[in-house]
Symmetry: C2
Subunit: 379 residues, 2 copies
Amino acid sequence: MEKVGIVGVGMHRFGKFPNLTLTEMGVEACVQALRDSGLDKRRIGACVVGNVGGGMVPGQKVLAELGLAGIPLINVENACASAGTALHVAWSFVASGRYEAALALGLEQMSRTIEGTIPLGGDSLELQMGMMMPGKFALVARKHMELYRTSLQQLAAVSVKNHRHGALNPLAQYRKEFTVEEVLSSPLIADPLTLLQCSPTGDGAAAVVLCSAREAARASQPIVWIEASVLTSGTYEVGPRDMTSYDQTRRAAAAAYEAAGCGPEEIDVVEVHDGFTISEIIHSEDLGFFPKGEGGPAAESGATAIGGRIPINPSGGLLARGHPIGATGLAQIAELVWQLRGQAGSRQVDGAKVGLAHCMGGLVQGLDAAACTVHILKC
Amino acid sequence: MEKVGIVGVGMHRFGKFPNLTLTEMGVEACVQALRDSGLDKRRIGACVVGNVGGGMVPGQKVLAELGLAGIPLINVENACASAGTALHVAWSFVASGRYEAALALGLEQMSRTIEGTIPLGGDSLELQMGMMMPGKFALVARKHMELYRTSLQQLAAVSVKNHRHGALNPLAQYRKEFTVEEVLSSPLIADPLTLLQCSPTGDGAAAVVLCSAREAARASQPIVWIEASVLTSGTYEVGPRDMTSYDQTRRAAAAAYEAAGCGPEEIDVVEVHDGFTISEIIHSEDLGFFPKGEGGPAAESGATAIGGRIPINPSGGLLARGHPIGATGLAQIAELVWQLRGQAGSRQVDGAKVGLAHCMGGLVQGLDAAACTVHILKC
């Protein structure tokens, strides 16, 4: 398989933009990514688009505006992991030798098209009984608290840190800092999760230009190599189970570390799927950065902040940068690329050379997380 | 790139099944395809699912029922070309050497989930003015009649033939024969297209097991090789243009013939995207089976019927086998595989060794057909 590098990234700021179209945000992200790469757009051989609620063939509209209509285009959907999945497919197209360069785009407009109508989490019995995402992760948080003595303050520390990071990110949906007390006293959504512990809905887009080593020689930016691209789906059924760990994350991480020939100790910077504060704690454990049950104390200690031992979500994560679901996975990649190139400005993780992005989504018929992607990048 | 073979196909009959679930139809098609292949289901390394209107992560539900949850799964959407696109992605996964075997599934349930709500054709100005698919293809038919003297009888001949073929297909939605007079006197939908010249909405599923040459050695059926798998998107804009030819079809066909090292004269059996009678005529020209303008006389002469020079849509095509949009492209593949194996029963095309499937879909912002796939198969 061919080595695949990322040579351009772009983002339309996350936020609420009901007066824009989905296409306008997608075009903005792609134009930036193409400009960043320095490649002629005609070098792009295929395009893969992640989106959930944008209706039929959302990618084609962007391609037409870019003047790239005609090339192979695939719209993919894997709930909140749609953009990570788009990158995986685009990566496989270049890795296979079929295309020299490809464009991966994630886009979503929840403020206009989805909010209130998206069948969040599908049709499982649990969901029919009213267990939407916040309710589910509230139970997960309670169980984690019971098993590992994770505290409310530790949960809140994740939100405080990610909002502090987000305040440094001009592309973040929220750029305001909060204290632990403010997080804990924000409106209760599903006990123990308060408003500031739940990722917001939003709009936005992110795009990545990836290519072979041959093509990368034409690029204007330092090449960030994709050392591993792994996609898994969820396995377990409704019923008794360990709610405080995700086997699709553990399997994806194991496969990614094996492909990249490294372990969690060699990762310098991480973007994980912090749909809720408890999610970041669990993922930081499942990805091997901390032993099980030590994610909470680690967050509280500052180990996961910029400047800490293993900075997690320097972008602000889903909690502060935002979570337009079909765009999130590629916004994570854009952040890692900026970090690894040393272009992250005031939120730069010093000396970051290896990054990991983790994206997951979808609750369906007892399958916890329908899809999960893990990418390891190196500069 | 690895050579890729098809070793198993399966279908849930097309029709109107509002009392089934989308998942049930998908599972039925997959179980048949896996059984047909003789492979242990645990050999399947990845799954790609084509669907348009089934909501979030429709494929994951099928995978769970099959006992295959956990493997990489990608839901793809490219309007009426969704299933052809799913095959293209699955093919590229195996061709790249990444997976030894993959499952491609297309499924749709228009009777319950889409009918009346699907934004057919997107949001172009033309469509906002009321130009749905039948209206558009009616204009195309009128232009073809004006340019090439294509007659109403020639248009009707396509429907008569495809319904005759469909009557021989136990999996077809409609199994009733009609005369030219009956076709022309059926209710007018958009002049000159009558009801029996428009493909119906419907429900159904089709699945294909594909694998590397190594893996194919374990299969229980003769291997049908994928000699070419090509995906294109549409290019042209609203405004003056030749409505009687599709450049995405011509580009896809040219690339497929080049990849397969053959021309249209070497194709023995064809499945094309006959959304309307005029579509089949145009596609039979764009794919190189007839010079421009001779598709109509060819249909009337019997050249495209089973037993004719180049049999088109022996399954009954979209007109009679039916068109549950996310499933159609893989139903075409199932038909070709049965034909090339000599298992097509009373609708068998004698001595068929090379088949071509053409699938296209989506009208969006002036882009005629958002996606088009052409596959060439050989036994």
